[in-house]
């Protein structure tokens, strides 16, 4: 197992962290590595837990976890690995869940084409990016050839 080495000792959480971990206060962003098949599963579980914490409906939970799975797989397969960060933006009328997925891969040459259904360079169905965009309320791609890719995607649940 990689990455778990540091957690061998006991981590002492302060009061605020413990509340945040329980979703009782504004939770802090948490970042997960996306470097292996196992990481993809870990990310799915973490995003599922985050959607529950945010109080999302079961359909919204499924949308966000599916989008996270697509984005994380893109970063793993095309970006050579990366990271996914979960945080919780807020609006007056809604609670949000934001996924930020970064990789240091080759970048995307032609974003509109990459977003088009059916376009694939990998082993999916070519619905990954475009599909993830449809499942989320806000979607943004920053990419540079040779400079990696960052996708930010947010889903809002109106309170």
């Amino acid at each position: 197992m990689t990455g778990a080495g540091e957690s061998g000792g006991t981590t002492v959480l302060g009061d605020a962290e413990r509340r945040a971990a329980n979703g009782e206060a504004a939770a802090r962003p948490v970042t997960y590595a996306v470097r292996s098949e196992q990481d993809l599963l870990t990310v799915r579980h973490a995003v599922r837990a985050a959607t529950r914490r945010a109080g999302f409906s079961i359909v919204d939970q499924t949308r966000v976890v599916t989008a996270a799975s697509e984005l994380a797989r893109n970063a793993y397969v095309h970006g050579g690995g990366g990271a996914l960060t979960i945080d919780y933006p807020t609006r007056r009328d809604a609670v949000g869940l934001r996924l930020t997925v970064t990789d240091d891969g080759p970048g995307i040459d032609d974003v509109p084409t990459a977003l088009a259904d059916g376009y694939t360079t990998g082993n999916g169905l070519g619905h990954g990016l475009g599909g993830a965009r449809r499942l989320m309320d806000e979607f943004d791609i920053r990419t540079e050839v040779g400079g990696g890719t960052t996708v930010t995607a947010t889903r809002w649940a109106v309170r």
Partner: protein, 136 residues
Amino acid sequence: MSSPPATGVPILRLGDVLVTGLLNELDDEAALRFTSELMERIATEGARGVLIDISRLEIIDSFVARTLMELTTTARLLGARVIVAGMRPPVAITLAELGLQLTGVETALNAEQGMAALGWHQSPAPPGEVRHDRRR
């Protein structure tokens, strides 16, 4: 060549139908191993139908969708008909929004209806008679 590590997903045989299911924890490599294991079983046991219960799947992303589509095509080439049963409603909604129609994949609401489509019927209790379990 040693056989690939088992996926831990049981594949049961009922007559000429293989019954199995996908688990949520299946990762990409396990999904591919599962496919080859299932095809091997179809070929060696001469199965004519395959029921895949997916009621445990909390999401279907494009990789799993592709796995199901390829598995269905491959099984058909081996002479077996695949029915994917038990998709959760939120998963169906999300799949449709993703733009994935699982083209070519036959579905059923649940395992029971899937088995019925494959020719397995629950024998009705004879009217007015006490039903005895057939033991020995």
